[in-house]
Amino acid sequence: MKLEIKNVTKKFKEKTAVNNFSMELQSGECVGLIGPNGAGKSTLIKVIADIIDPSMGEVLLGGKKISKMKREIGYLPQYPNFFQWMTAKETLTFMGQLSGIKKEELTRSIPEIMSKVGLSGEENSKVRTFSGGMKQRLGIAQALLHKPSLIVMDEPVSALDPIGRREVLNIIEEIKKETTILLSTHILSDAEEICERFVIIKNGEKIEDTTMTELLNRNSENKINVDLTVKNQEWIEIVKSLNFVKGVEVIGNKLKIEVENIELNKNLLLASALEHNVDLVRFEIDNDTLEEIFLKLVVEK
């Protein structure tokens, strides 16, 4: 089902947490919502989950108001919290019944979902005794239980240690195949790992909506980095004389070579290096890392 966010604005008294935000999510897509702390991610996600009403604008799922489509949404809060006195199984039964699932169906699907999120054997443990990572997984289980067509997750891995983070990322990777996912994070590498498309939000405004490859290409500057074991002045002169090379920068035994067209020229350059028996250590297209691009976008705009 298609999710449409139309000109959503949310004001808290003076503070505008989300400002005229629009975005569309096609069925089956996986989108990362990225922004620094305080950017308005949680606020936007709460609007989508129908926890708070937007000051302006609306959110539609499959063309209908989100408040009428709650059954189709699975929501994982930033800090999932459940009744401390319930067991994991009771929690899932409770949330499942509220979503309108029959008891018989739940007795079948709960063990299934518990093993999917790696909580098998914890069915009868009290939520009180759960660690942060276990609560996160219980939260994911709860969001998946009623087989929603859209899953919204607020910082699903930010609060976890590296091992928990790895496990949860794997779970998300798994469920990505079946549903539309919108997840927020302030850590780019998390989004990079799961989602192809991402939307960058800052001060409540959308500043970028793009795919990873597009972003990488846009920021490359037709330069190739070549590292050598020893400085080879002879080959540097040859490179300089090549007709497609526009300039060579030498720093120690690292070369930064600017060419006319990366796609066409990179192999010619490599061929030349091999032909002259140059001792290569590294040969790569000079890209900003995503981290650098992200910083640039967030700081500049």
Binding site: K46, A49, Y75, F83, E90, F94, Q97, S99
Partner: protein
């Protein structure tokens, strides 16, 4: 099962897990016992203690009628300590769901605000009412054991009246618990307001007609006099209307998602 039953069932399970299901009835049984026992032994204790000094014992105190003792169980025990304990046991009824995010979380599911509130109010009312009934019945048993019999119809009518006052206490506390965020403030406001309502009973007949606490006075009158004051109809109507109003306010408050906009 629809959402209302799921939510109400959750409330009951929670009461069991938190032992509330044991201690609240016990507290009311205790309160119910106290009045007859104290009334019965007070004269002989006073006599024993003051016997040598010739303190005269008020004869009316020594020979109270059963109905009067049962009435003061309602008026002196339930309406003071009892009401406070009901309030304190219910101050977190919605507030704790707000504080830990469960209210917002529950409402992300296809649950109407109405079924959430009715799940809360009805389950808590049933439970508190059962506790009150238990305490009242124990008090009744002691009264007929130690004093005179109480007419059975009077007993039931008075109970019914009193349970209406309890309904208002429960729905009012639920509303305050929805609006405010600190348990201390919730308890304070509810106790001051509800005990205040109880104290002003009897000051003015007009005020009594719109005061749910006057249901308690009517209950006591039935027990003491054995007759029903016809004014009770106004109190019944205003208690129902006011209880409905508090529930409506609670509903609007949650529907407008005020709890998220602090």
């Amino acid at each position: 099962m629809n959402n209302f039953t799921v939510l109400a069932k959750k409330e009951f399970v929670q009461m069991v897990r938190e032992f509330k299901v044991i201690w609240l009835p016990l507290v009311f049984i205790f309160l119910g016992l106290t009045q007859p026992v104290v009334s019965y032994y007070l004269p002989s204790i006073l006599k024993a203690l003051g016997g040598g000094q010739g303190i005269t014992i008020d004869p009316s105190m020594a020979a109270q009628k059963g109905g009067e003792v049962l009435a003061s169980t309602l008026g002196s025990q339930f309406d003071q300590l009892g009401v406070m304990i009901i309030i304190v046991s219910m101050m977190g009824v919605v507030q704790s769901d707000k504080a830990n995010g469960m209210l917002a979380f529950i409402l992300t599911r296809p649950v109407t605000v109405g079924s959430y509130i009715s799940g809360k109010v009805i389950s808590n009312y049933l439970f508190v009412a059962c506790s009150v009934v238990l305490g009242y019945l124990v008090s009744y048993l002691y009264v007929i054991l130690l004093f005179t019999r109480v007419d059975f119809v009077d007993l039931l009518v008075a109970l019914l009246f009193y349970l209406m006052w309890i309904l208002f206490i429960v729905s009012f506390t639920t509303m305050i618990s929805t609006i405010f965020n600190s348990q201390g403030i919730i308890a304070l406001i509810s106790i001051v307001f509800l005990l205040g309502c109880r104290i002003v009973v009897g000051l003015s007949p007009v005020l009594d007609n719109v005061n749910p606490a006057s249901m308690s006075k009517h209950a006591m009158e039935v027990l003491i006099l054995g007759t029903v004051n016809t004014d009770v109809i106004w109190s019944v109507i205003s208690t129902i209307v006011l209880s409905a109003l508090t529930i409506l306010v609670t509903n609007i408050w949650i529907s407008k998602k005020k709890f998220n906009n602090e």
